[in-house]
Amino acid sequence: MKAGKQSFYVDNPVYIRSAYTIVGPKEGESNFDGCFDLVLKNDLWGEKSFEKAESKMHREAIRGAVCLAGLNFDEIDMMLAGDLLNEISASSLAMRYFQVPFVGLYNACSTFSESILLGSALIDAGCARTVTCSTSSHFASAERQYRYPLELGNQRTPTSQWTVTGAGCTVLTANRPTREEDKRARESFEEKLTAMRTENMSNGVCGSEKEQEKGSEEANGKKIKHSNISEGAAKSAKTPFSFRKKEDDRVAPQCDKFYERTRLAKITGGTFGKVVDLGIEDESNMGGAMAPAAADTFFAHLEDTKSSPSDYDAIFTGDLGRFGKEAFEYILSKEGIKLCGTYTDCGASYFKPEQKTFQGGSGAGCVNTVFNGYILKKLENGTLRKVLVLATGALLNKDTPLQKETIPGISHAFVVETEDF
């Protein structure tokens, strides 16, 4: 149901069935250490390029979330996905592996909340029963696309942010899951994930690529017999002298999949943001460019839903960074709104100071991994009851600042509430 000018409420419940996150090594040591489902030891993850690695992370995040939900891919009606690479290639390439309708989205770093909003709207309208919402970003591939080569000896400006290497997927569904279902899905997770990969390969989806990934000795002999990615124990036992140390590329799952879920999270509404541009030209100061957009959406949300900041247990912005957070609070203070203690910026609080990221994390994987890894767990164990998430994005490419364009920002907000599980 539409509310005000930009917002809507969900009439039929949209539940968050499961979430799965994969992050790189640096993120694994960040402030959110222990929140993620899988932490990679090497951000190439056995691939030949960072773009391929990002796509693989995206793909595996979707698989993980679907398995964790205890669903099969034929039960997924639609996949909403996006990332930061040119023509959202990480998502598109990942989607080759799934026989599910795919809707590609791009709103820079706010793609995650865009996908959640659209997913909820689709479910609410009855166009779909179950959708996946996923985004990814990778430090090395983003750096290469938007900035300079990794090995170039330049200095990063103090206003710059660090693109988070991470992918995450949330499964939204109209069916209310029961406790038993949830427990069963989590128990059979590993088994199911392995089975799903094997099945995918025997279907011949991208067979040639899969063969490449396999150790050569296996590809010669028995073709596509067992999963290449089920690696680890099975593979090392078979080929003790394998030079492709696949099992070294990932560490054991970090968070406990069986964490206590006493509450069930659901999306109850949201606000679509406008493009806001207050004339910031410096492309290394994206926090400053995005803060007005976040504030604009925030005001619109409060007005449309007739709520006040105190209605929320916590308010999260996406990746404004430390300075962007300051700018956001400044704009709010101009309108006479003060957020005390309930406001956090995912990007600013992502990395530890000694990780030298200046303003903190950014990228489509930033707010995604924080939401799926941290906020959702807090909601599900009852620490938080009602949360507003404003993911923010800076809409620029490499050429627009050179053509003397200012940087427009955008922000979409969604509201998550919980009910007894």
């Binding site: 090995e151 170039l152 000896g153 200095q155 103090p158 206003t159 100061n285």
Partner: protein, 147 residues
């Protein structure tokens, strides 16, 4: 969001955004840049010592070659970018920095193949320097012709 004018916000950002630590950057650049130049001098002295017959001009050329090699090598093994993070201009201005700016894209775009990857993208950063260098030398050459 009517309380805040565009100009007011731009001014706020300009004033409040974090600035580079000027003194620290300059000192680091000064010392690292000076150190690289000292190494260059050392290489030149060594060359003179090993090849006493070499002319002054040849020594200068070979010193440049050695320094370019050193810059490229340190880039390839992933050391130069760390030096650059610390020293900034100090390691960009010397010829080793130029080598770094050519080799780093070459390494980066290796995955797109030799032709459109390495060869085409190699001069993404150093291109303007080369263009300006050549144009300037042509202008100076023409002036020199008439003097």
């Amino acid at each position: 969001m009517n309380m805040l004018s565009k100009q007011e916000y731009v001014d706020f950002v300009k004033e409040k955004s974090p600035k580079s630590p000027m003194w620290r950057s300059m000192l680091a650049a000064f010392f690292v840049g000076g150190l690289i130049c000292c190494v260059g001098e050392g290489v030149s002295d060594l060359l003179k010592l090993i090849f006493p017959a070499m002319t002054e001009e040849d020594v200068a050329t070979w010193t440049t070659v050695v320094m370019i090699f050193a810059g490229s090598f340190l880039t390839a093994i992933g050391v130069y970018d760390k030096l650059g993070h610390f020293a900034g201009g100090g390691s960009i201005i010397p010829i080793t920095g130029f080598a770094n700016s050519v080799v780093s894209p070459a390494v980066e775009y290796n995955r797109e193949g030799v032709f459109f990857g390495v060869c085409a993208k190699m001069f993404v950063i150093a291109g303007p320097i080369i263009v300006f260098g050549i144009v300037a030398s042509v202008i100076v050459g023409i002036i020199g012709l008439f003097l």
